[in-house]
């Protein structure tokens, strides 16, 4: 009997709490909710954009760039998010809107004296050919290679720029499915090397210059830092209605400012 009453009280409390929180469910002007799905790299930014746009009007799912492209094709999402370039076969029927540029920063432990690598060195390190930091002028410390998992858009972009036919990422590399996690792992292991999106950089890790160019917002925006990729919103045909409104917001001054605050390089405002 009392258990029953406790149950009812708990449920009532939860419902009350749900209704009273600041972001109570407010339908957008036309009551339509926009669904985005795709790249996990874009997901946190999409969530931030969604927060600013109006909570409850946008739903963000992950699934990866490939899944996002498929979702846009199938219509299971209003907007597909891709952090990698599309192959010609995937482009048909889709309209790509670049909403930001994302650099891929190569990172090492904050205490690592090495400040930059050449592309060739980076390739050799990730292929497992160079195994000790002293081989490139650093400390006598084994290199711990860390990478994202197979299928990740970030890894795809990295492999596209850095690796080649004869060099693939070594099988002894540690693998994580999370960008923030990769950064955390690098910040804890003095011998580690990894790659994350530019927005993930924080004082706990040290970005390395690649071929003499350090990753900064200007160097990404003007293309000098070559390890970069566009964040693309995909729609089946030209975006309309609620999707259009959201994309317009993202490309607007406040939307792009938000992007810059979060660590992306903006695109030209339309």
């Amino acid at each position: 009997m009392s258990a029953h009453r406790i149950c009812r009280t708990v449920v009532a409390l939860l419902i009350a709490a749900g209704c009273s929180t600041a972001d109570a469910h407010t339908p957008s002007q036309d009551g339509v909710v926009v669904t985005l799905a795709g790249s996990t790299s874009i997901q946190p930014f999409a969530e931030r954009w969604a927060e600013e746009y109006g909570a409850g009007r946008v739903i963000v799912q992950s699934g990866g760039s490939t899944a996002g492209i498929k979702a846009a094709h199938d219509g299971t999402a209003d907007i597909g998010m891709s952090s990698r370039s599309l192959v010609p076969a995937e482009i048909t029927g889709l309209v790509q809107t670049v909403v930001a540029r994302d650099g891929i920063a190569v990172i090492a432990h904050a205490s690592n004296p090495v400040s930059g690598v050449t592309l060739a060195q980076l390739r050799s390190i990730y292929a497992g050919e160079i195994t000790n930091w002293r081989e490139i002028g650093g400390r006598d410390l084994r290199i711990t290679v860390i990478t994202r998992e197979d299928g990740s858009g970030t890894r795809d972009a990295f492999e596209q720029f850095v690796m080649d036919e004869t060099h693939s990422i070594t099988t002894s590399a540690l693998v994580t499915a999370y960008s923030g996690g990769l950064r955390k792992m690098v910040s804890q292991d003095p011998g580690a090397i990894g790659y994350v999106t530019f927005s993930q950089l924080n004082p706990q890790v040290r970005p390395l210059a690649v071929d003499g160019v350090a990753p900064t917002e200007p160097s990404i925006a003007d293309g000098r830092y070559r390890l970069q990729r566009p964040f693309v919103f995909l729609t089946r045909g030209e975006p309309t209605g609620a999707a259009r409104a959201f994309i317009d917001f993202v490309l607007s001054g406040p939307g792009q400012q938000l992007a810059r605050e979060e660590g992306l390089a903006p695109v030209a405002v339309q």
Binding site: T171, S172, Q188
Partner: protein
């Protein structure tokens, strides 16, 4: 009894629902578990069999390279990873688990056992992600920097230790049941012949409970093989054969969980095929445990 008299008055003259109908419905419910099993088998096979047959099971199981981006679907490194981590977990979990079970079943006073046994089972309810988290915070840095070990810290060793702790409640719980099932007469007889308590345990009780304990170990093994989250968090997930206990490894479970979010097409099918392998392994272990237990039930008096 009064309650039943009152109910009897309610029963008298009540048109009873067709008892047969009820029985059918209940039978249907009882078959639900078995049919779920069949359903799971069906769907995992449906998704995973095509790529398995296409590449050939031998190439799939024996392939040494897993690189879905380039079309390589070799599971052997992950099979090795699962094997190493599971054996490591048993190396830690079995001695400690057995020790705990013997202590609680044979040595501890009843009050202590009544306190500790539920405590250990309570602790079995801790989510695996919390175990993994502790592993990441403590174990991995310890292995990497604390002394003679080394390597990246994310390793088969870390996974073995965490898994070993996680299977403890399973092994302890089932072993205690097995020990308690040994008739008291066995112990009394042994003591009457002059054996010490410890000699009785090793010479009489343990052998008698042997099949139950073996079943406990097998089920603990099943739990270790099937664990996903904790392993992903501490094992490193490198797609290579573990060369030492300090090498990062990837288990079958981690393989599925890591890449499932992104996978499409043949890649996704290959992950389901990994699921088939896992499924077969866990069913086999389960069946083995059942057989071992059955033998015991048949043999004992």
């Amino acid at each position: 009894m009064m309650m039943m008299m009152r109910r009897a008055r309610a029963w008298a003259g009540t048109a009873s629902l067709s008892d047969e109908l009820i029985e059918r419905a209940l039978l249907f419910a009882a078959l639900s578990a078995v049919s779920t099993l069949a359903l799971i088998t069906l769907f995992i096979l449906r998704e995973g069999l095509p790529v398995l047959l296409d590449r050939g099971p031998l190439a799939f199981l024996g392939g040494v390279r897993w690189a879905p981006g380039r079309g390589h679907f070799g599971l052997l490194p992950m099979i090795a990873g699962t094997a190493v981590v599971t054996i490591g977990a048993l190396v830690i979990g079995v001695p400690l688990g057995l020790a705990g079970a013997i202590t609680l079943a044979e040595l501890a006073p009843r009050r202590v056992r009544q306190l500790l046994k539920p405590t250990i089972e309570l602790l079995a309810g801790i989510p695996s992600v919390v175990y993994g988290f502790i592993g990441m915070e403590f174990l991995v840095p310890l292995i990497r920097t604390g002394g003679p070990l080394g390597g990246p810290g994310y390793s088969a060793l870390a996974a073995s230790i965490i898994l070993g702790i996680m299977v403890l409640p399973t092994i302890i719980g089932i072993s205690i049941d097995a020990l308690e099932a040994v008739p008291q007469g066995y112990r009394d007889g042994s003591r009457a012949l002059g054996a010490t308590h410890w000699q009785t345990i090793t010479g009489v009780v343990l052998p008698a409970a042997r099949s139950g304990i073996v079943a406990a170990v097998i089920l603990g093994m099943g739990r270790a093989v099937g664990e996903t989250m904790a392993v992903i968090m501490v094992a490193g997930n490198a797609v290579q054969f573990p060369t030492t206990i300090l090498s990062p490894v990837r288990t079958l479970t981690a393989n599925i969980a890591l890449e499932m979010s992104y996978a499409t097409g043949a890649h996704a099918q290959a992950l389901f095929a990994t699921g088939i392998v896992l499924f077969v392994i866990s069913l086999s272990l389960n069946a083995l445990a059942g057989v071992v237990r059955g033998t015991h039930r048949g043999a004992a008096g």
